[in-house]
């Protein structure tokens, strides 16, 4: 009996229903939490956790999971619904969004397609672990082996005897109706992949004796959180083994698995996945540019721009083990020929990527000066200091900027005439209008500094033949160049704090709770102590007790009440 099987007997999960949305409001707890954070700066405060969540697999998670289990050559014939973004992250939205009939149809199509590929003759020898005694007759033992092989990988936990028997029965039923053993197996596999146990990351806790105490995720839920956080994929066999052997409940065992996952090739895609979410790169799917205004824009440029920024991030943070804040000042240039046209730099490498450095004279420093950010946060036909300023506030500093009032006259800033040739001139109208000024004063001083880049990201010094004034400021720091803006972002105290906030939200799939402030302070201190190295931050989170803690039912009830009181509008 395998460790996984051994756990089945004692597996009595307490299913925690997901809450829809919550925000802790306990002022007393906050004060206590803050006090508790005043002790040993690198000692984790007592775990308080947050509500358990039930997260739907994102499209990326779904794809990497299938690739990890069945191989990367298995195609997934489905279109996925766009993820809901909440608290700035799709990862959080996955715990809040429902599942539409369209999604269910697509999941069904995907499951059938994947299962068909698995049992296809060309893959059968590799992916089906046994041969039926006779194709026309049902081979229960072989069917059971298939279920045992893939069930735990797909459900991220051992299957109960009842579940296993159910899928074997489904295989038998399929075989009897279709007259083919493999057709039966196909239906059983497809059944697993449309199960909520596969599509949703359902978190379960260990049984507790004291209802007022935070609970702890069970081993399988721990493994799942760890795995998707550190590899963006389902737990592999080794992690499931460790979970089955209770190793994740020991510091040493947990550390061994965390270090193994961070050292694995899947860690880099996991970091990518987080920044892809944090930078809202799913918007690339909607990115459009006026080809008359920006003839260099095409789908290759869009794809390469996104990849460039992600390469810059992973290269600095993982390969070089660099300081997260340096992302806003780095001159590292990962380029393709298509991007070279937009940046107006030579790219000798004829095919693929070239790693080089933007010279100081290039006016490029930091990912906010990349085509990905500049093009994504612009209009199709012109740049937008407001969109760029808003994005920098929200993405990098976690500062929420309200949506514009409904009666704004946008034609004023879109109209270019002799009196208002530059965006600064046009936005002056907004900054002098009291109903607009409040927000524009927050956004525009940052965004106007990026006006040296047009709506695609090409450097320019003039707009409509008028010289661009790129001066700006960020929370009291003035600058006159895009490089100065990058340095201000680098030096801003909220920059690393925002990253900590977002990466933790991403890891747990929910907003942080007020009760977790001491824990967040702990993470912030740890991040600073580790020279703002993101892998170290992720390791700290993965090794922390709070990462696996679920707030007690009483607190849950408070969260629900608070949520009802606070819920208003879209918080994305």
């Amino acid at each position: 009996m395998s460790p996984i099987d051994a756990r089945i007997a004692g597996h009595a999960p307490s299913l925690v229903l997901p809450r829809k949305r919550g925000r802790g409001t306990g002022a007393l707890l906050l004060a206590l939490g803050l006090l508790s954070g005043c002790g040993d700066s690198l000692r984790e405060p007592d775990a308080v956790g947050g509500p358990a969540v039930m997260r739907r697999l994102t499209e990326a998670e779904y794809r990497t999971t299938i690739a990890a289990i069945f191989g990367p050559d298995i195609t997934i014939p489905a279109r996925f619904e766009r993820g809901l973004r909440a608290e700035g992250l799709v990862a959080v939205g996955t715990s809040e969004a429902g599942m539409s009939p369209f999604s269910v149809e697509q999941y069904d199509a995907a499951a059938l397609g994947i299962a068909a590929a698995v049992i296809d003759e060309k893959n059968r020898d590799r992916l089906v672990p046994c041969r039926p005694a006779a194709n026309a007759a049902f081979d229960a033992a072989c069917a059971r082996r298939v279920v045992d092989e893939y069930g735990p990988l797909l459900f991220r936990r051992p299957l109960t005897e009842e579940e296993s028997a159910g899928f074997v029965k489904r295989a038998q039923s399929g075989q009897e109706r279709l007259g083919d053993f493999y057709a039966g197996v196909e239906l059983a596999l497809a059944g697993m992949m449309v199960s909520p146990e596969f599509l949703l990351r359902i978190e379960r806790t260990k049984p507790v004796t004291d209802a007022d105490e935070p609970r702890e995720l069970d081993a399988w839920s721990k493994a799942t959180r760890l795995s998707y956080f550190l590899t963006n994929s389902a737990p592999d066999r080794e992690l499931l083994r460790a979970a089955g052997a209770d190793e994740l409940d020991t510091k040493k065992g947990l550390q061994r698995q965390v270090d193994r996952l961070i050292a694995s090739p899947l860690f880099e895609p996991a970091v990518r996945a987080f920044f892809d979410d944090m930078l809202q790169f799913d918007k690339f799917g909607d990115l459009a540019k006026d080809s008359v205004v920006y003839p260099a824009f095409n789908s290759t440029v869009a794809a390469d721009a996104k990849e460039q920024t992600l390469r810059t991030i992973t290269d600095l943070l993982i390969e070089q083990e660099g300081d997260y804040r340096d992302l806003f000042t780095t001159r590292a240039a990962h380029l393709t020929r298509a991007l070279g046209i937009v940046y107006r730099v030579p790219v000798p490498t004829r095919n693929g990527w070239e790693k080089s450095v933007f010279p100081e004279s290039s006016h490029r420093a930091g990912i906010q000066s990349h085509v990905a950010f500049l093009a994504l946060y612009s209009h199709p036909g012109q740049s937008s200091p407001t969109l760029r300023g808003k994005a920098m506030r929200e993405l990098f500093l976690c500062q929420e900027v309200p949506d514009p009032p409904p009666n704004v006259n946008f034609s004023v800033i879109q109209e270019v005439n002799a009196g208002m040739p530059t965006a600064r001139d046009r936005l002056e109208v907004h900054r002098t209008n009291p109903s607009c000024a409040g927000c524009h004063k927050i956004m525009d001083p940052l965004g106007l500094t990026l006006e040296n880049y047009d709506g695609l990201g090409t450097y320019r010094t003039t707009e409509n033949e008028a010289r661009i004034d790129p001066s700006g400021s960020l929370d009291g720091i003035d600058f006159t160049t895009p490089e100065g803006l990058g340095q201000a972002l680098h030096d801003h105290p909220e920059t690393p704090r925002c990253l900590v906030e977002k990466i933790y939200r991403y890891a747990v799939g929910r907003d942080t709770e007020m009760e977790e402030r001491p824990y967040m302070d702990y993470l912030n201190k740890a991040f600073a102590t580790h020279d703002f190295r993101v892998p170290d931050l992720m390791r700290t989170i993965a090794l922390s007790e709070n990462f696996f803690a679920i707030s007690p039912p009483a607190a849950e009830a408070r969260h629900e009440l608070a949520q009802v009181a606070l819920q208003s509008g879209d918080r994305s």
Binding site: P295, A296, I341, R344, V345, S361, S362
Partner: protein
């Protein structure tokens, strides 16, 4: 990690010296001339066509009419006239057969593959008038007259340019001036479309530029492009793309030039480019070629690339396609070469021998030992846009997959 500034003397994968490309050391922007940096600039030719006279219909340049193809010539004969009651289909078939006979020399050779085996075509018309303006520049610095020759030339009458300038050397324009496919609506001057598909291209590089408006000495490179030209979704060439020079020294040329009031004029240099027609790879070459282009503030160039095309080379890539090669550099399939030469002549309205002999009749450059000129002045109107010209190994990653077996003939 490779810094742009450190690439200058790196060895390429093929062991070749990687020469610094135009705009390579740094790409800081200068508002007045953003395309030039550290005295270097690069360009990719974005449009090219023969510089010719205005349409004959407008100028009256062809009082004897236009050149004819073999079917049209056959139709002028008694045998080729339409017979009473003859159906369209039958007559078309007879014209085709008659044309085929005319395409075959007395010794049985095809006249496009072997134009010298046929007699000159009296139906091939050329632009003989000396008063009709022809587009172009004075390549050799001599306003030649028909009754005089120089050691470098044969007697010929230089044309008057469209702006009235004297001494325009453009004998090719005379050869094709009465061919319908070289009129403004014809198909023979639209070969730039092959360049825009990425089949071939031309790069220009400047080095040692002190002043982009006036500089008495700059180094100029004129090279074949090893990379496909980059286009917008509307198929407009994009500025500031990176292109590699052809690695074959035969397709790279360097000369010196001067810039006066924003006009770059180079010293003569032999140049050679690729050209592809109907999947047949050929070479477009010119001897003693000069570049005379105006440099605009945005870094675009417009003007002329003019020189003397060897007659045999011109005949090959423009009329006969005799030596067209496949992508591996071997002789292209014979049926393809035959079909292309004869088909083009029929569709475009001339005969291969007519063009061949006319090219020699009008040849005005590179006289051989017998005093016969072997090249003909040819002028291209070109436009170019800023680009980064680099010198890197250009071997394909798929070279090892290429079938080394010779092509079937």
């Amino acid at each position: 990690m490779q810094r742009f500034a450190s690439m200058q003397r790196a060895k390429g994968p093929a062991g070749l010296l990687v020469v610094p490309a135009a705009l390579f050391l740094s790409f800081a922007t200068r508002a007045d001339a953003p395309f030039i940096e550290n005295g270097r600039a690069g360009f990719v030719v974005s449009d090219i066509k023969y510089a010719l006279a205005d349409d004959a219909e407008k100028t009256g340049a062809c009082p004897q009419g236009m050149s004819r193809n073999v079917e049209e010539i056959f139709a002028l004969t008694a045998e080729g006239r339409r017979r009473k009651g003859e159906s369209d289909e039958a007559y078309a078939r007879r014209l085709n057969d008659g044309g085929k006979k005319l395409s075959t020399a007395p010794d049985g050779q095809n006249v496009c593959m072997n134009p010298e085996a046929a007699a000159p075509d009296p139906n091939f018309r050329t632009l003989r008038s000396t008063s009709i303006p022809i587009d172009g520049i004075d390549i050799d610095g001599v306003d030649s007259r028909a009754d005089a020759s120089t050691p470098q030339s044969c007697p010929h009458q230089d044309a008057v340019g469209k702006q009235g300038q004297r001494g325009v050397d453009n004998q090719f324009a005379r050869v094709v001036g009465c061919s319908r496919s070289y009129q403004s609506t014809g198909q023979s001057n639209g070969y730039a479309i092959e360049m825009l598909t990425g089949a071939w291209g031309i790069l220009i590089s400047l080095d040692g530029v002190d002043d982009i408006r006036n500089d008495d000495s700059v180094e100029v490179g004129i090279h074949a492009n090893a990379d496909p030209i980059q286009l917008s979704p509307a198929r407009v060439p994009l500025p500031y793309a990176t292109y590699a020079m052809d690695q074959d020294p035969r397709f790279r040329a360097k000369t010196r030039g001067r810039i006066e009031d924003g006009v770059l004029t180079t010293e003569p240099v032999d140049v050679r480019f690729h050209t592809i027609t109907n999947s047949l790879h050929m070479e477009r070459a010119m001897n003693h070629a000069r570049l005379q282009v105006t440099i605009a503030q945005d870094g675009s160039l417009s003007g002329y690339l003019a020189g003397y095309t060897p007659v045999e080379t011109m005949y090959d890539y423009q009329f006969g396609y005799r030596n067209g090669k496949n992508a591996k550099g071997e002789p292209g399939p014979l049926p393809l070469r035959l079909g292309t030469g004869n088909g083009a002549a029929r569709v475009l309205g001339y005969t291969c021998p007519g063009a061949y002999y006319a090219l020699y009749d009008y040849a005005d450059g590179d006289p051989d030992a017998n005093g016969r000129c072997t090249s003909i002045s040819t002028q291209y109107r070109i436009a170019a846009i800023p680009a980064f010209v680099v010198d890197v190994a250009t071997g394909s990653v798929n070279d090892r997959l290429v079938d080394k077996a010779p092509a079937k003939q």
